[in-house]
Every structure is written in structure tokens, then in C-alpha cells.
């Protein structure tokens, strides 16, 4: 799907634009969560998986912040001085940079606040599902296609 041109890969473009030290801290936190909830048993894993479904990721935060900037610029541009439309244009331009390439002016802030990408959240989700035994049947199946079928079913959000 999408334009077939050489752009940053969707799933990894935010991580590619995040400082190594920040990524390391996020990874440590994810690893710590996995160990903590896996050790706490199935009920704790269930509750944690519910939480992870709701956790705000980087895209959702940007999709909230950017239109608020655009709206502020349009309101001020219409009511006060049309030069405020420049704020809207700047916000839209930065969002385009983010969607195409991954970077965003507020990305370092959001990342330091602990916002993760879908891929990073998924790492915790699938590790906890694994710890709960969701993939036990997958490992017992011999045929790769059958294994993938079972894994696809087991990967359903619950």
C-alpha cells in the first residue's frame, strides 16, 4: 500500500529518528515491564494487556497536537492577523515531514516523556501473550503454514 517510492519505512521511521540513549531507556522499561508482569501471573498479564491496548503511541500524540496547532493558527489568522496562518502552515509542513520521513519537532519531547511506537508497544504485548501461554499451541505444530495460522489467531487482541 502507499506510494512505491524510497521513503523511510513506516514501522521503523520514528525509532530511526530517536536518540540512542532514549531508545535504550524505552527498551529497558519495556523489558522491565515484561519481567514484572510475567512474574506476577496470568491475572496481572490480562490487566496489563488491557492497559497496553489503550496506551497512547507517538502517532496518536502527534495526531492530537498537530491539528490543535492548525486550528489555533486558523482561528488567530481569521480573527487577529492573517499572518497567524503561517503557524498552521508550519504545523502542516512539520506533520508532512513526520509522515514521510519520521522526524517531528516535538518528537524528542514525546519520546523522552515515554511515548512508544506501535512496534515498541507490540513487543511488550507479544512477550506477555507468550508468557501467558497464548503461543503454546503454535510451537507444538510442525508445519510452518499451520504454525503461522495458529499464531495469527493467537495474536488477536485479547
Amino acid at each position: 500500500m502507499g506510494p512505491d517510492i524510497a521513503l523511510a519505512a513506516t514501522a521503523t521511521r520514528v525509532a530511526a529518528n530517536t536518540a540512542e540513549s532514549t531508545k535504550r531507556r524505552l527498551r529497558q522499561r519495556t523489558q522491565h515491564n515484561i519481567e514484572r508482569y510475567a512474574a506476577a501471573g496470568p491475572a496481572a498479564i490480562d490487566a496489563r494487556l488491557q492497559e497496553l491496548q489503550r496506551e497512547w503511541d507517538v502517532e496518536r500524540a502527534i495526531e492530537t497536537e498537530a491539528p490543535l496547532m492548525v486550528l489555533a493558527g486558523v482561528a488567530l489568522g481569521a480573527a487577529v492577523d492573517r499572518r497567524f496562518l503561517g503557524l498552521s502552515a508550519f504545523a502542516a509542513g512539520m506533520l508532512l515531514v513526520h509522515s514521510l520521513q519520521g522526524w517531528y519537532p516535538l518528537l524528542p519531547v514525546f519520546r523522552r516523556l515515554g511515548l512508544r511506537t506501535t512496534r515498541e508497544i507490540a513487543e511488550e504485548i507479544y512477550a506477555l501473550k507468550d508468557a501467558r501461554g497464548d503461543f503454546d499451541a503454535v510451537l507444538q505444530a510442525g508445519d510452518p503454514i499451520q504454525r503461522a495460522e495458529l499464531a495469527y489467531a493467537a495474536a488477536a487482541p485479547r
Binding site: 496506551e55 495526531e63 491539528p67 490543535l68 498552521s88 502542516a92 509522515s99 503454514i145 503461522a148
Partner: protein
């Protein structure tokens, strides 16, 4: 404060037609079987990383509509700014609640959210996991 909003991972599927969701899963399972049969799992995993998800598509769409309507509003007729405002309102609605007008179009054209793409990836990885 986050509990008052819809689930991040589920909000796209919850605001898409059931047939669109079902077809996307059907196609994912067919593709998984096909990549395993042809033995091109690594290439498929790289493709999945590049696949444009609903968020990237909606963000690009919103940014372009905003820039175009701002230019028209500033230089042609300021009523075009209403389009800018509407687009921003819908982007916000998508972020907080999940739905927005272009979503149905993109879903029918096969765009998935990042969680759905990740699910196909996990299934492919599990096929050869020890």
C-alpha cells in the same frame, strides 16, 4: 486521563465496516501462506515494515489538504479556511475517538493500522520460531 478515549490499538478497527476488517484479515492470512510457500519470508517482512498504515496515510492526507486550503484561503477566498478547520477537526476526532471521513475510503482500499500489520509480522516470525 487516557481512559476516557477509545483504545489506541483498536480505534481504527472499531470505526471500520465489519466487512472491511474481515477482508483485511482474510487477505493477511492468504499472504502469510503464500510467502511461506514461496519461501520469501525475509522479503515479506521488509515489505511489511514499509507498508503504509492508516495513520501515516491520514497524516499525509491531512497535511496536504491543510496546506492546499491555507494557500487558497490566504490568496483566493478566505472561506477556504473553513476546509482547513474541518480537516483539523476531523484529524483531532480520529486521534481521540478513531473515526474520520477519509478512513472508510482508505480502509476499503486496503490500508491497515500498525497493529494489524504487526499481527501479520508476528505470524510470519512464529512460523519458524524454535
Amino acid at each position: 486521563m487516557f481512559f476516557m478515549f477509545s483504545s489506541t490499538q483498536q480505534r481504527v478497527a472499531e470505526h471500520s465496516a465489519a466487512e472491511s476488517n474481515a477482508r483485511l484479515h482474510e487477505q493477511a492470512r492468504e499472504r502469510i501462506a503464500r510467502s511461506l510457500r514461496s519461501g520469501r519470508v525475509d522479503a515479506r517482512l521488509a515489505e511489511l515494515d514499509r507498508e503504509w498504515d492508516t495513520e501515516r496515510t491520514l497524516q499525509t492526507n491531512f497535511a496536504l489538504v491543510t496546506l492546499a486550503s491555507l494557500a487558497l484561503g490566504a490568496f483566493v477566498d478566505r472561506r477556504w479556511l473553513l476546509l482547513t478547520g474541518a480537516a483539523a477537526g476531523f484529524m483531532l476526532q480520529h486521534a481521540l475517538q478513531g473515526w474520520c471521513p477519509p478512513l472508510a475510503v482508505f480502509r476499503r482500499r486496503g490500508y491497515r493500522d500498525a497493529g494489524e500489520i504487526e499481527r501479520e509480522r508476528q505470524a510470519l516470525i512464529a512460523a519458524y520460531r524454535r
